[in-house]
């Protein structure tokens, strides 16, 4: 049975093609830098969406995994002179292993306890980054992290890094979408909606929670690695719970369960504070107010199921040229 298509044209390639043209228009280094960060944070938001939106587990510790990926990758390149691609991929794998470990610890914890565990984990990681002087550089952090290079091509300008980040986001997006549309993704959604019914469908729920955590942590890890090689500085003060909550809000604002939503939410929350200094100072207040309004009026975010987007599109039915909606959902008798 084929799913009816929502759009007549494939939107993905068009969006990527348009995004490729951005550096031709935006030439200011500062703006490009903001855009690169938005692209990289989008990957993190997608990974958190995999946990919170798709599997329904609340995770307040995602930034710890950004930090783990960042420090792992930075240390590997700086101290051991590993080539970029090894540092980059192994950062993902390292986070996968840590994520699986954390998942194993709390695979049978219910929702609220899992949240507390992730908060604790975030705090543990922050303290390790801050105090393990010999390895992480302590409060000074790691400076002069080398820029990445692939096949002898060094990504040392903002434009080059923009294309690198764009390609990375596109690959991660496609990979996560394929996961969500697969047997794995269906099992994640099933255990989110009703863990008991999921078990009766033959799904080993605790195992799938571990798999979910491990997979999401891979993407967080490589995003962390890509960030640290871009900013070329790993600060232990970046990977706090505040940061985790801010990232979580990117996924919630965009719409939990919606992958394009995560990118949109990230774009808004990364770019908006840079538009004006005033906004930057009040960003947490703004985000707080926004969350209150969203939770009451549109708990599913902008692009989530029955979210703001669908409501706005739904208003289209009042237009004079709109076709009357087909009757559906009635009991067949």
């Amino acid at each position: 049975m084929e799913k009816p298509r929502r759009f007549a044209v494939p939107l993905g390639p068009i969006v990527v093609a348009v995004a490729c043209l951005i550096p031709l228009v935006v030439t200011n280094d500062y703006y490009l830098r903001v855009l690169v960060m938005a692209l990289l944070y989008s990957i993190v938001a997608l990974s958190i969406n995999l946990i919170v939106g798709i599997s329904g587990q609340l995770d307040f510790g995602r930034s710890a995994f950004i930090g783990l990926g960042a420090f792992w990758s930075a240390i590997l390149m700086q101290r051991f002179g590993a080539p970029f691609w090894i540092a980059f991929l192994s950062a993902g794998l390292f986070c996968t292993v840590v994520g699986a470990g954390l998942g194993l610890l709390c695979r049978k914890s219910t929702f609220d306890y899992l949240t507390l565990i992730t908060i604790g984990f975030n705090e543990i990681c922050r303290l390790i980054f801050l105090n393990w002087q010999d390895v992480t550089g302590g409060a000074m952090g790691l400076r002069r992290v080398p820029a990445p290079s692939l096949f002898g091509y060094v990504f040392d300008t903002h434009v080059r890094y923009f294309y690198f980040a764009l390609a990375l986001l596109a690959i991660c997006y496609v990979a996560i979408r394929r996961i969500v549309k697969s047997k794995l993704g269906r099992a994640f959604e099933a255990l989110r909606d009703d863990p008991i019914a999921a078990a009766y469908a033959g799904i080993p729920v605790p195992t799938y929670k571990v798999v979910n955590f491990a997979l999401a942590s891979f993407f967080t890890g490589i995003a962390g690695s890509a960030m640290v090689h871009y900013t070329q500085y790993a600060s232990p003060y970046n990977y706090t719970m505040d940061e985790s909550i801010y990232i979580l809000q990117m996924a919630i604002l965009g719409g939990l369960g919606s992958l394009p939503g995560s990118i949109l939410g990230t774009a808004i929350l990364v770019i908006a504070p840079e538009i004006s200094r005033t906004f930057y100072e009040y960003r947490l207040m703004f985000v707080g107010c926004m969350m209150v309004v969203m939770m009451i009026w549109a708990p599913n975010g902008i692009l989530g199921k029955q979210g703001v987007g669908e409501r706005v599109i739904g208003l289209g039915r009042f237009l004079p040229w709109a076709k009357p909606p087909a009757l559906q959902g009635g009991e067949s008798r």
Binding site: M1, A175, R178, K183, E189, D194, A197, Y200
Partner: protein, 260 residues
């Protein structure tokens, strides 16, 4: 007589001081429709929970298809070939109807992470086969028009059918229906009876908890009656109907009625 498909031997289930089940023996024979009836609180749903490993019996053991499955995790027991529906509907509300059914096939879709990430042709083919099969099941149950709707948006009666579709999707040897006709009008209940006899012709053995006597007497080959956690009667619908203990359990004793 062939080997029973499922066997419960001397099941006790205590919740603190409450004896939900006491010494229940039950045999489910392959190919039959077994009705389980009893007044509210008799332990019918607890019996289903014990049979499927959802709750561990305090005493006794459960055999399914020759394997001891007592206290095994639910997904293990169900992987051996059991499907179930619930008294209070448990659908995956934020998933589409067809996805609900495909989740039911979880252990019959053999894809792996590499194939998923690279979108290998074999993965694509297995996914399409799963959705085709789910489509056929939905068509059989008259749900194909809402295949891509969110399950939560369906009316009650159709949600029940989606649960049955999901249970059927795993091609179970045994299907347990917990009050399938709850909240249905007489006509829907009649449709349900046709559906259950249809399911039985497809292969699986059916055990059904039911309050609607017309339904349960109409479709069952055998009926077991529970009251206060013990099995008080078992036999053909006619035998059970004329059993004094059953009448007592439902209507009270004659002297009680006289005293009142």
């Amino acid at each position: 007589m062939s080997r029973p498909l499922m066997q419960a031997e001397g099941i006790d289930k205590l919740f603190g001081g409450v004896k939900a089940l006491q010494g229940v023996n039950l045999e489910i024979r392959p190919g039959e429709v077994l009705g389980v009836i009893g007044p509210n609180g008799a332990g019918k749903t607890t019996l289903f929970n014990v049979l499927t490993g959802f709750s561990r019996p305090t005493r006794g053991r459960v055999l399914f298809d020759g394997h001891d499955v007592t206290g095994k995790p639910v997904y293990r027991v169900c992987q051996k070939g059991i499907g179930r529906t619930f008294q209070n509907i448990r659908l995956f509300g934020q998933m589409t109807v067809i996805d609900n059914v495909v989740v039911g096939m979880h252990n019959r879709v053999h894809t792996h992470l590499l194939g998923i990430a690279l979108k290998l042709p074999s993965t694509v083919r297995k996914e399409r086969e799963a959705y085709d099969k789910a489509g056929r099941i939905l068509e059989y149950l008259g749900l194909d028009d809402v295949a891509w709707e969110l399950a939560a948006n369906l009316p009650y009666g159709r949600q029940r059918k989606v649960e049955i579709a999901r249970a059927l999707a795993s091609e179970p040897k045994l299907i347990l229906l917990d009050e399938p006709s709850a909240g249905m009008n007489p006509q829907e209940a009649a449709e349900l009876m046709t559906l259950i006899s249809g399911i039985r012709k497809m292969g699986p053995t059916v055990v059904v908890i039911e309050h609607n006597m017309q339904v349960v007497m109409g479709i069952s080959d055998r009926v077991a009656v529970l009251d206060f956690g013990t099995k008080i009667s078992e036999g053909s619908p006619d035998q059970v109907r004329s059993d004094n203990r059953v009448i007592e359990a439902y209507l009270g004793r004659e002297e009680d009625a006289g005293a009142a």
